[in-house]
Structures are given as C-alpha cells and as structure tokens.
Symmetry: C2
DNA sequence: GTTTTATGGTGATTTAGATCATCATTACTG
DNA sequence: CAGTAATGATGATCTAAATCACCATAAAAC
C-alpha cells in the first residue's frame, strides 16, 4: 500500500515527475503539464513544509526522507496524525476538501519532496479517470488508516498502543525488525497520543520483558509474537 | 458540506438515482447504467447495513433516516466513527481501498438507502472525471473529519468532547439548537469515546450549569457561547 | 571549551474518568 | 397485562496514565 522504502523514487534528472506508481497513469503530455506545476524542494530536519490554516496551494509528494503530519492543538499539546515517506502524498485531502491546510507538516529526516500545484493536479485528474481513481484509492486508504487509528486511540491502552507503534515502524516505515528511529521520544509519544514519560516507561517495560532490545534510538524486536499479541489485546 | 436534512432526497419514483448533488455530474446514460447496479433498501432501527470484514460489494447512499458507522473492537467496546444522514455515502473508502468493509453500519432511525454496486460506481467514475473529482472531494472531507476527531480524542477531555457532540448534533445532524436525539446514551457515548455513565454525568453538569436544557432525549442549547468555549478549550 | 538548550530518564503525586454495583423507568414480548 | 429486557441514572471505588519535579546526558550555540 504505502511505499516507505528508504531511497528516492526520483530517477530521471530531466523530468521532475517520477516514473513511479500513480504517475504511470499519466500520458507523456500530462506529465509535462504536471511537471510545469511542480517544484522540487529539499528540507532539513525540523523544517516546516506547511502549516495549519495557511492557504493550501500545493500537494506534497515525498521522494526521499520522512515527514510528519501533525496537528497542534490548545496549549503545547501536539498529535501526530501520520508519517509520510517516499512515494506517498501529504495534504491531498486538504487539496480536495479545503482551501487551507488542515494540518501542519515538518521534516523528521532530511527530505526531498515535490511540491505540486493543486490546481494543476486537479485539472489533470478531472480529465484522466484512471489517475483520479488512483487518487481515490489513496484517499480511501487514508480514511481507513485514520479510522483504525481512531479506534486504537479510544480502545487500546498504552502497552497496546506502543506495540502498534513498534509494528508501524517495523512493518511500514523501516521495513525491518531492527531499526534506528529518527524520531525523538516526544515525537513517538505524539504519534500514539501519550506523553514522553509514559512512552519511555512502557518501552522500558518491553525491554525488561525481553520483547524488544532498546539502546537509545535503536530498537530490535525480540518477540514479534508478543508484539502482535499486545497489539491485538490492546 | 454534508447534507443531513431530515427528509428524503429521493424524488422521481421511476429513476433510482436522485437528481441531487454529486449525481448531477452524471449523464442521462450514466445514470441509467448506475441505476442498473442499484438496489433501494429500507432498514429499521438496529438493522445492520453491513458488517466489518465482509466482502464489500456495495456503497451505501442514504436517502432518508440516519445510520451509524462503527467499529467493534475487543470485548464489547464499540467506537462510533460517524453518523451518515441523507445525501451522504457510507463505505466509500472501503470500496476504493479494501476488498472488505472496514467498519460496520447499522440504522439508528428507520432508513431508506441506495445500495450501489461498487464495480458499477467505479467504472463510471473511471470515465467521468468530474464525477470522480466529486468523489475525491467527499473522501477528502472524510479524511479531514476523521483527522479532526482523532485530534479531539487525544486532546480534549470529557466536557470538551460532550460540547463537540452537542455542536455536531445541532450543526450537522439536526440543524437546530433544539432537537430530539434518536440515539441512546450508550450510542452517544460511543460517538465521543467514553462510557454511558460518564456521558450522563457530563450532560447533567451541563444541565445544572444552564448550558443546555435536557429532558430525556430532548436537548435544547441554552448558551451556544458556552458550548463553543467548552468545545474550544477542550 | 564552556554555557545553553534539547533530549532522555526516574520517582512521587494527582486526577479524570473507567469500572462496579445498584435501582428506577421505560419499552418490548408472550 | 404481567414479566422480562433494555435504557437511564447515581453513588462508591479503583486505576492508568498525566502531571510535576527533578537530574543526566547529549547536542548546539556562543
């Protein structure tokens, strides 16, 4: 579904539009038109890609790196809605259902991304049914992912949520049972709706129970079965 | 955005497809084709429209009444993801991003709905760009709504969530500052991720504080300002 | 290199809201 | 119309996790 593979999908230096996934549905001519509405940008860790309530002119397509989409609420509390890696879009829903960005986004790792003018993308989608069906698939997937997260948030308690987080990292973001996270504890906590203190405690419980190996930002899953059980019983 | 007006959008008894909203983007011929893949169904309160994990053959378009889309989790805990009233779709995301229904749906009030074969809808969308752009707008709106709910769930505490619930009823479902809910306290609780006991207590606090008038299922907003403040401070 | 600012980590305390128990009331059902 | 089931309501208790208050590193800035 999502492609968070660790390297860039950007190949031909003379055409900004990657020969990849959804863009395969575009004709050569459409790619050219789209390319004219695209800017290639690089971001360093902590750089803001867009901010909540700003007019949403662009859709983001991540080529390499990793970004977080989050919503800053009252006070200094923050909820991280999702991570977006190579081959995935951010702000697609804002482009189709809002004149402003409904969330903020910031780079977690150094990131290369295409900023696609939303008007250009929408014009092309209007005329290319297969392309818009692909966009529908993507947005449908987003609805499902966020719904699942909503269910998780209101039903599972901390151990289950932390197990989910580890599964998310190993299955979708880093695609390995052993990985080095590029997020701080604070950011990890924001991803599962808790505080850094509670996250740290739960991670250490997992370590003591030999479910994971933990050294700073390096995590190794020792018992995938236990992780799955914890994730399922909540 | 959503149309939860209390009466049916279904008009012409000889054509199943309403002359309404998104269906205006279809040609006469497309309406006929779509109509061939549509069944008009009526449901009574508590009837199931579809269940989580069943193969998703149909999309639901509500003509009259009210349904809830929910996710049954571990144990007997349930989270209600959203209500769907006249003029809105259910299971659209499942149709585009999953072979099975990712949630369940049940009628809250007696409901008339069109069951639209998802293959037919997708075929038509593939060829009609304006129609699929409308679907993109709808799915984009769903992403935004659920994201907002996720943020609410992880940031606001009960008074704020109950205030949100009252706003949701008055602004989007019943479209009046005074209304009679067709949901049980249990169902209201499931909509904001709490228990019926806690919901009842909070509603009574609102009543004692003269923020609402409450008599059984009949609710009247006495101070919209306070509701808004509560909703905003969380 | 030394100060300052982020981050990681821990224990003690507090608290919102879940859970449990019980009863009243309404509404289905035979 | 009695009897059972579903719903609404309240009080007492319990608990998971937030909050608060620190300190230890690690990383950035001067």
């Amino acid at each position: 579904m999502k492609d968070f593979s660790r390297n860039s999908v950007y190949s031909d230096p003379h055409n900004l539009i990657p020969d990849d996934g959804i863009f395969n549905y575009l004709t050569k001519e459409e790619k050219l038109r789209l390319s004219a509405g695209v800017t290639l940008m690089t971001f360093e860790r902590q750089d803001i890609l867009f901010k909540q309530n700003m007019p949403s002119d662009h859709i983001v397509y991540v080529l390499s790196g990793l970004i977080k989409v989050y919503s800053g609420g009252r006070g200094d509390r923050v909820v991280c809605i999702r991570l977006v890696g190579p081959g995935s879009f951010a702000a697609l829903s804002s482009a189709y259902a809002s004149g402003v960005y409904r969330n903020s986004a910031a780079a977690i790792e150094d990131t290369e991304a295409l900023m696609i003018r939303k008007e250009t993308l929408r014009d092309i989608a209007k005329k290319n049914g297969l392309f818009s069906v692909s966009l529908l698939n993507i947005l449908g997937g987003e609805v499902i992912d966020i719904s699942d997260k909503l269910v998780t948030f209101s039903m599972k308690q901390l151990p289950g949520r932390v197990a989910d987080l580890i599964r998310y990292f190993s299955e979708e973001v880093y695609k390995s049972p052993e990985f080095t996270v590029s997020l701080t504890r604070q950011e990890m906590a924001e991803l599962i709706g808790t505080t850094k203190e509670s996250l740290i405690r739960t991670l250490n419980e997992f370590k003591n129970d030999k479910i994971i190996d933990l050294e700073g930002k390096h995590i190794k899953i020792l018992s995938n079965d236990l992780i799955k059980v914890l994730s399922e019983i909540g």
